[in-house]
Amino acid sequence: MRIGYYPGCSLLGSSREFDESTRAVLTALDVELVEVPDWNCCGASSAHVIDHTLSLALPARIMALAEQAGLTEILAPCAACSNRLLSAQQEIEQHPELKAEIARIIELPYQGTVKIVNILEVLDRVTERIAVKVTKPFAKKVANYYGCLLVRPPRVVNFDRPEDPQSMDQMMKLVGAESIDWPFKTECCGAAFSVTRTDIVAKLSGKLVEGAVKRGAEAIVVACPMCHSNLDLRRPEINEHLQEEYTIPAMFITQVIGLAMGLDPEKLGLQRHMVSVEFPVERNIPAAAGAQA
């Protein structure tokens, strides 16, 4: 299988391990990734807050480049990127008068024919291959955290179900993990407020960490770099807010699958996490009593 690949900016930097693990896993599953040539940033959260047309033009350029390269599908592992691409594509399709205008702005012909898929959709196509290659089942209790943009708004992404989605849970079952039943699968982590309102992120992501640990999870599995960043990079702020030391790791789904397939943890970027990926997870070690445990 051959598919277009749009890593997006966070996979180059702050969520490099998502890119590494995705490439490692998909390569091991005989999926060839063809990077969209000269791709640009999709605009993420910033473009749509500042200028609506810009928020359509940036994704349109990416899709136009893919079309030019003869790609019919693009995998965008970052949930925010895939959401922006789908959103822009749908809006241009529903307002045909925009098409010409956008093409003029991006200086490229735009057809709107490229299909945007997320990482779960691609993994779903190769479940048989995954099942065959699982040598070290990931026998842990996991909290599957989908976040907002993978499943909402339903009429744009048209994927899984917006409340209590199941796609990650099914994937985890395939690799031997036990998914806990928890009510925060799609509660927002704090999104783009990581830098500007870290307090909100601490509160919202804190609720997720606390909820997962309370229900016995040993890892939180995510498929979005922003969610991962809020749950991982911002763990000190979360712990400060909750007044507890939570050490439960946040892992990308491709990392979990990679481990189950016996791939080298370093190739999956596990060492790049702020909250180290170690099992068993020690729960609620009081921050002050360092030596005792």
Partner: protein, 663 residues
């Protein structure tokens, strides 16, 4: 040569203000075929009518045109006038100079000319009019009521007390419907079964009513006054004549764990069962899908123990054919289930229940004998949240309408809960309070003012479970949309009222219209609420739209009145404006080639097949035949017929063509 009389009416100033009626009368005298033309101030008045009658006699008229208001106003009037003068009423027509001319134009020469033209065109039609005679159709004075809930029971009793026979068909093993599941009813808090069961018994014992329970309507043929209905009597698996209703079989049935439909899944029943102790008829039914004997061939305990030997495992469904004159639909409604709410957990939380389930919990004959116990662990709920408008008034769920009864029953539920759990906390999340009936608003105020139920204006975004409690996340819009979180022990959703399962199928079996929600369509939303557009079929109760018990009973009596009115005649008279398939002498027999395009086009199922047989019984030709009892004269078949073999009496192709050519 025709001898047509034209009578132009001033209609006071309604016509005369813009049309010069005297001039019109004068102009009509020169139209070929017209031998008499006058104008008068009020044609419909006694002198006016007498004028027409005298003219018919004096001038030996063979056609009359009254140029006046709309035929919808006075066509029957003038046809009666003319009939009394000895002329066939269908030789009298009206030209509409009011709605079609004077009321829509300014005064002037052109308006007067148009009036004259309207008459001139009609003359061409009237020249070709044929005398017609009303069609008489017999009436079978037996009514069929489909649905044995409170609506069906009320209709049946009213028709039976009116002196006519009624067959009451109910698909479940007992009559009673949803009302029998309720604990207490608003606004009086009467015990529901206490007021219902006497009616149920009355219906069962009434000499004019035949109950067919555990039965469904399979097929309906025919037309008003003359329906042929096939009812499928499903096999109860016992001989009803022998069964005494002693209940021993139910006591001894070993398979006791089947989720109980009557208790909305909150209780269990046996495989041989009666839906509830007060069932009418009190004869059990075997659930063949769950009975051990039908699954494995073993058991038969009921058969062994039955003192009268009434069990019949081999019994088959029976098809019964009935001759019926009028049908009343009273099939009720169903409630949306909790699994339709993704944001409330897709129905997986046992303690999130719907309104009917709450009724069963509150009911003395329910699975908890009326004690407030929550379904998951049987604990007494100390905080209960009631959510009104669950699924109703909700475009995103495909139910934009209001379900009408929920505001009232939610207040009732909150009150019942508080009466049973005095220290309990009851919260109601609402959008509006619709309590428009008699004593209704006072009832809701009582819940708020006396029973301390807390009403919060806002919807609930999400409910999830944590530490054995249900976390309800709502908002109070009267406080600016401030989020409100309540940790509840139980949540009752006032779910949307929807049309019953398979109502679409039933509507198609009966050929009645229904809307996109499956509710049956009334003939006119304001003025004909108990009739359908299909002659002889009436509506009562929630199958038409969500409604409460008082309105249902009122509507049921209304439908019954229509049926009794229909049955007050031995024959039905119908307008003869019907289509007729042309007949010719042998060997042509008809221009009809038997393609039956007309049959598929006819909206009223009025077209049958007729075989022309040779002397030896061989079929020479199959022709279309219009049933004059069903035909509504819409003309669709006339337009569809490729060989122009069908024509409409009173509006023939030739007449219409002539009118157009004169224009």
């Amino acid at each position: 040569m025709s001898r047509i009389g034209v009578f132009t009416c001033h209609c006071g100033e309604n016509i005369n203000a813009t049309v010069d009626c005297a001039k019109v009368a004068e102009m009509c005298m020169s139209v070929p075929g017209v031998v008499h033309s006058v104008d008068y101030k009020y044609m419909c008045s006694d002198p006016g009518q007498r004028m027409i009658q005298e003219a018919v006699a004096e001038h030996k008229l063979d056609g009359v045109i009254v140029a006046a208001c709309s035929p919808r106003m006075h066509e029957p009037t003038f046809r009666r006038t003319v009939a009394e003068a000895g002329l066939n009423p269908y030789l009298c027509e009206m030209a509409n100079l009011r709605e079609h001319c004077s009321w829509v134009h300014e005064k002037g020469q052109a308006t007067t000319q148009k009036a004259a033209d309207l008459i001139r065109v009609l003359v061409e039609k009237v020249k070709r009019n044929q005398p017609l005679h009303p069609i008489k159709v017999p009436v079978t004075k037996t009514a069929l009521v489909i649905g044995g809930g409170i609506a069906g029971i009320q209709v049946a009793l009213d028709i039976a007390n009116g002196g006519h026979k009624v067959v009451l068909v109910e698909k479940s093993p007992s009559i009673g419907g949803h009302m029998s599941q309720l604990s207490e009813t608003f606004p009086t808090l009467d015990c529901s079964q206490c007021i219902l069961t006497p009616r149920m018994v009355e219906a069962a014992q009434h000499p004019n009513i035949t109950l067919m329970t555990y039965s469904e309507v399979a097929k309906v043929d025919g037309f008003i006054g003359n329906f042929t209905v096939t009812v499928r009597k499903k096999a109860r698996k016992l001989d009803e004549k022998l069964c005494t209703g002693c209940g021993l079989c139910i006591q001894k049935c070993p398979f006791k764990k089947i989720p109980d439909e009557f208790n909305e899944g909150l209780g269990t029943r046996t495989a041989i069962y009666v839906p509830f102790p007060q069932a009418v008829p009190n004869k059990p039914v075997i659930d063949t899908l769950n009975c051990t004997f039908y699954k494995t061939g073993k058991c038969k305990v009921c058969e062994k123990l039955c003192p009268t030997g009434a069990i019949r495992f081999e019994q088959e469904d029976e098809l019964v054919t009935l001759d019926i004159g009028a049908i009343v639909l009273a099939t009720g409604f169903k409630l949306m289930k909790t699994d339709a709410f993704p944001e409330y957990g897709y129905g997986k939380h046992k303690d999130i229940i719907d309104g009917m389930q709450f009724e069963r919990l509150a009911s003395a004959s329910g699975p908890t004998a009326g004690v407030m116990k929550r379904p998951s662990d049987g604990k007494e709920p100390e905080t209960v949240v009631f959510i009104a408008c669950s699924g109703s008034r909700d475009r995103s769920k495909g139910v934009p309408y209001c379900s009408k009864i929920c505001c009232m029953y939610t207040a009732k539920h909150a009150m019942l809960y508080k009466h049973k759990v005095h220290h309990g906390k009851a919260y109601v999340f609402y959008m509006d309070i619709r309590a428009a009936g008699k004593d209704y608003d006072e009832f809701v105020r009582r819940a708020i003012e006396e029973d301390e139920v807390k009403y919060i204006r806002g919807r609930v975004s999400r409910i999830y479970e944590e530490d054995g409690k249900l976390i309800v996340k709502g908002a109070d819009t009267l406080m600016g949309g401030e989020p409100v979180e309540i940790k509840a022990d139980m949540v009752v959703l006032a779910t949307a009222v929807q049309s019953n399962d398979r109502s679409e199928e039933l509507a198609q079996t009966l050929h009645v219209s229904y809307d996109s929600y499956g509710f049956f369509a009334e003939a006119h939303p304001k003025l004909r609420p108990v009739e359908t557009n299909t002659g002889g079929i009436f509506l009562a109760g929630a199958c038409q739209a969500p409604r409460d018990i008082p309105e249902t009973v009122a509507q049921a009596s209304g439908a019954a009145a229509k049926v009794v009115g229909l049955f007050s005649q031995d024959e039905l008279t119908r307008e003869p404006i019907v289509a007729v398939v042309n007949r010719q002498p042998a060997p042509v027999f008809s221009y009809c080639v038997g393609c039956f395009l007309c049959q598929s086009a006819c909206p009223y199922q009025a077209i049958e097949q007729e075989q022309i047989l040779a002397r030896n019984g061989e079929v020479i030709k199959t022709l279309a035949r219009i049933n004059p009892g069903l035909c509504q004269g819409c003309g669709t078949c006339v337009a569809t017929c490729r060989t122009k073999a069908i024509d409409l009496q009173g509006f023939s192709n030739e007449q219409i063509y002539a009118e157009l050519m004169t224009l």
